[in-house]
């Protein structure tokens, strides 16, 4: 089915970006913000219309033009909506719209709000291209496009070198991942003969794929996964995300929490049938997801910057999602994407509100006792915190529980490992929450903190609501058994046999009792840890109370396990050394050195020859005699065999 409305989902933010960035360039934050927000919401409503009109029974496509086509590479600029996409669309445009609204106020004191909203709209356009594109090159276009916008937005306050460095780190790290994407594209061109996602899926299920052997498919999937570790901040490429917090907080909320970082999960999901067949790869994904979840959570335990805590929390949650993929539970992963988008956006915006109220102070230790100064923020932040730790009946509870349940089915070991990460989540989230909102104000800023503008609090409220409500699309059987979400998402793979991924289609069910036990164990553990954490951090009165004598582990964690430094020593410095000295030696010393040597020796020999030119007539004639005599003697004596 075709629909020209589809393109407008992308065009609205693009138009918004053009208006803001090129034409109007208004310094009035409300005008710029209005344009940006309207564009986002226009997309949202278009998505809604498409969503409501069509459901997900058929794929909706929209062909715009042929981008490039030669030989057997044919790339159209075409859009396509499947079930996964439409959910993602709503998340992106909906949460995006809310964050835009929030940002109008948040950025109201900025010098060039038009630039901010232009970037933000551009990001939306790219992100929407990513999810909508019919073929992988289009996905890649969006993939790199969001990378660019992320780069621009992280370095939005470009006057400070730190920010632009963080932006560059994000871009370059993502590029390392993108190489995998490109390899996957090349494999698709070479072996599958097409770049169209549906055609690839059809090809993979067809008879040619079997003839092709599994290596191509493995490399393809591995390439996509490698790209995802970059974009979705998994080990080993997660290092950029915490630094990305240098950007304005709405950016962190939109890009680095809710949408862009989940695009890795999204793309894997769209190509799930290929992943499904790669058992070894899934193992790898599981291991990586688990380790990321743990590592990030461990680091988050000791971070003092509220945004850093949330950033590592994001990495950790993304690890959960990948672990879910690794288990073979894509729907669970995607459900967590959606719920996470809601509550993490909420948390970030809340943090932004706090920072706003604290006059750009981000250190948790400098806050304290904000619950009275910023009640709305506090309330919504609490909802977000509860959601992320899996407080019963919040969205996080449902999505996390779904993953844990699948993990338990797969292997209890995986379950316990994931549970451990979840418990850590509970600990550090409550730590952050308590440090910020409980106890006594520890600095002047904290004492003078104020509640934010309604443009900021309203989105917070809506997001808080969403953080609770969204979970009810997928409720375990023991609590009533709603499987709306699974049904929707499964529609994406209609025509693909065997039917997979859904939570209901598992081979063996857990008994209800086991499920109950699991839920209680998980929730109880989380709440218990959360309580401990609250007890520990909720009453801190002075900064010094926390700062004193960090232990070995604390120091390790505070320093992020020295991962950046290790990367520097292992990769960056050797590469830079090779590049610098290599290019110097080869270009400067060898090639140019040889050339200059030739030039100098030519000049030198010219000057030496000139010395023979004494100016005396006898010298001149001597050479005549010499040449004649030599030639004659050589001719004669060689003719006689003497020479």
């Amino acid at each position: 089915m075709k629909s020209e409305a589809l393109r407008w989902i992308v065009f609205f933010p693009l138009i918004g970006a053009a208006l803001n960035g090129l034409l109007i360039r208004s310094k009035n934050p409300y005008l710029s913000g209005a344009i940006g927000t309207l564009a986002a919401f226009a997309s949202f409503f278009t998505s809604l219309i498409i969503f409501s009109q069509n459901g997900f029974s058929t794929h909706i496509t929209d062909f715009l033009f042929t981008w490039f086509s030669t030989g057997n590479i044919k790339v159209d600029f075409a859009l396509e909506v499947t079930a996964v996409t439409s959910v993602m669309l709503l998340v992106i445009t909906g949460i995006g719209g809310l964050i835009h609204t929030y940002a109008v106020s948040y950025m109201s004191h900025d010098e060039s709000p038009w630039r901010f909203f232009a970037y933000l709209n551009l990001f939306l356009a790219a992100m929407l291209t990513l999810v909508l594109s019919q073929n992988l090159v289009g996905v890649f276009l969006g993939w790199e496009g969001v990378g660019l916008c992320s780069y621009l937005l992280i370095g939005y306050w470009y006057k400070e070198n730190k920010n632009t460095e963080a932006g560059m780190k994000a871009f370059v790290t993502n590029r390392i991942g993108d190489l995998g994407f490109l390899v996957a594209l090349f494999i698709a061109i070479r072996d599958f003969g097409t770049l169209n996602i549906s055609e690839i899926l059809a090809f993979v299920s067809g008879p040619q794929a079997a003839a092709l052997g599994s290596t191509s498919l493995l490399i393809f999937a591995a390439g996509i996964f490698w790209a995802s570790t970059g974009k979705s901040a998994q080990i080993p490429l997660y290092v950029w995300l915490p630094d990305a917090m240098a950007g304005p907080t709405p950016v962190s909320a939109l890009i680095h929490a809710a949408t862009m970082v989940t695009s890795g999960v999204f793309v894997s999901l769209r190509l799930w049938p290929i992943f499904e067949g790669q058992a070894q790869l899934l193992e790898v994904i599981l291991v990586i997801g688990l380790s990321t979840a743990w590592l990030a959570a461990l680091i988050a335990l000791t971070q003092r910057d509220i945004k850093k805590v949330l950033a590592y929390s994001t990495v950790s949650q993304l690890g959960f999602m990948f672990a879910a993929l690794g288990i073979g539970a894509p729907v669970a992963a995607f459900f967590h994407v959606v719920t996470h988008a809601c509550f993490k956006a909420l948390l970030f915006l809340g943090a932004g509100s706090v920072i706003h109220g604290m006059h750009e102070k981000q250190d948790l230790l400098e806050m304290g006792g904000l619950q009275k100064k910023m009640p709305l923020t506090h309330g919504t932040f609490l909802v977000g915190t509860l959601a992320i730790i899996g407080f019963p009946l919040t969205s996080g509870f449902f999505s996390k529980d779904l993953i844990l349940e699948k993990a338990f089915v797969k292997s209890p070991v995986v379950y316990f490992l994931l549970l451990g990460a979840a418990l850590l989540t509970a600990f550090y989230m409550l730590r952050a929450y308590s440090l910020a909102f409980w106890g006594k104000p520890r600095t002047k800023e904290a004492e003078h903190a104020h509640e934010s503008h309604w443009l900021m609090t309203v989105p917070l409220g809506i997001l808080a609501l969403l953080s609770v409500v969204v979970g009810f699309f997928e409720v375990p059987d023991i609590l009533g058994g709603i499987h709306k979400f699974t049904e929707w998402v499964n529609l994406s793979w209609i025509g693909w046999t065997p039917q997979l991924g859904g939570g209901t289609a598992e081979a063996h069910h857990l008994s209800h009792l086991a499920e109950w036990l699991l839920v209680l164990f998980t929730t109880g553990g989380s709440l218990g840890i959360a309580y401990l954490s609250w007890k520990k951090f909720g009453q801190i009165q002075a900064k010094s109370a926390v700062e004193s004598n960090p232990g070995f582990f604390t120091r390790l964690s505070e320093n992020k396990f020295y991962v950046d430094e290790i990367y520097g020593i292992l990769f960056l410095k050797p590469l830079a050394f090779v590049a610098r000295t290599g290019s110097k030696i080869v270009d400067h010393s060898l090639i140019n050195g040889a050339l200059h040597g030739i030039k100098d020796s030519l000049n030198l020999s010219g000057n030496v020859l000139a010395l023979f030119h004494t100016g005396g007539v006898q010298t001149y004639t001597w050479y005549l005699v010499f040449v004649a005599a030599l030639s004659i003697c050589v001719a004669i004596f060689s003719g006689w065999g003497v020479l």
């Binding site: 490039f68 030669t70 057997n72 993939w143 496009g145 470009y158 006057k159 290599g582």
Partner: protein, 499 residues
Amino acid sequence: MENSLLLFLLWPFVTGLLLFLFPKKIPLLAQYSSLVFQIVWVLLFVWAIGPIWEELSVAGDGGGPRAFPVYFSWDWIPFLKSRFSLGLDGLNIPLLGLNVLLSLCLGFFSLNKKNLGPGYLGLFSILNGASVGSLLAADAFVFYCFWEFMLIPMYLLIGGWGSKNRVYASLKFFAFTMAGSLFMLAAILALAFQFDVASLGWHDLVATNFEFQGWGSVQGLLFLGFMLAFVVKIPVWPFHTWLPDAHTEAPTGASVILAGVLLKLGVYGIARWCLPLFPEASAAAAPTLMALGCVGIVMGAFAAWFQTDIKKMIAYSSVSHLGFMVLGLFALGVEALQGAFFQNIAHGLSTGALFLIFGIIYERTHSREISKYGGFAQEHAWLATSFILASMASIGLPGLPGFVGEFLILAGSFKTFPVYSLVALSGVLLGAIYMLGMLRRFAYGPVSELVKSHPVRVTWNEWASLVPLLLFMIYLGFGSQAILSKVEPAATQVLTYFR
């Protein structure tokens, strides 16, 4: 057709000589006249290619490939077996268009510049003529004549209007390029007088079969002769060291044309002459040349990474990017070949724009040291934005033309030589590293003393020179098919010689 093509070729020569006669005291007169000449030239270009524009995307007779059509021929020196013949097809038309576009932009750029008098403009025009001539030539001897002649105006432009170290750079440029092309001269000579070819015309040469049994054999030697000229011009590693110097010292206009047209001629030359004439040798040399291309990609990027001189960095980025084109040429597949030709245009636009923008800035600040810049985005947002846009195009961001070229090259070469393609991929990453590193230090961060003390007011004509490039860049990012469809029949035709 004949007349318009000939007129198109002669126009820059005639106007160039005419410009020499303009009074030196009133540069404005020469500048505006030159601009008018350029505009007329653009019209001539449209007039010349108009009649065949539609046919270009159509395959040749019987659905077969489209051989190089010759539209003008004059028996000028029969006893040298040379006819003055000019042809047009999908391979050269895009490059001609790029040349015309860039020179029009530079026509605008040169306005109101006190030091760019009639001499500069005249040489410039003649340079255009020479490069267009070698693009159009359908005869090896004619090709060589134009090819070599190009050196003179370029040498004088770099040497006469360049910056401090210009003498060294111009000499190096001249000596390097000439050393390479003399081998081509020898090969052309051998073609003409050692073999029973009817003439040095492209069609006659292509119809001749040269025996290939290793590099000492006829075809091997001829191929090497031609290749040496082209690899120096492109330049392929390790023949590249002239380029950074030439680019760095050249005046803005010369840098733009050097990057936008001259280097491309090497790529064009290979596709036009080396591949169809010496298919076996080309196929045998392909792995080596692709390896050199890869080394160029990596080493160019490495060198660009740690440059302290912005123009030098851009130049080294060109070395890296041209490595991609070599890779594309010798992957010997239509995708990669198309990619190489598209990358020609893309790189011409993006690097041209980079040089142009930096030229505008350099004119005010007179410094190329990256470390002296900083926070330029605050000084002039539009210009900085343009610079960032061009950089992004240069590192192959999707949505800008560089991506399409690189993608096609890499995907195409992946089909035949996956290993090289994977090595070349590192160039994509390194490109981001050095470009963004430069951008970060140049455009972002606190405003430096230099930038503060040299305010940049961009004049209307500078915008007029820049905006078309940027617009084309943005257009080609998605409108790639407009060019690719024209190149395809010709590219396919080149590959028909590889059985």
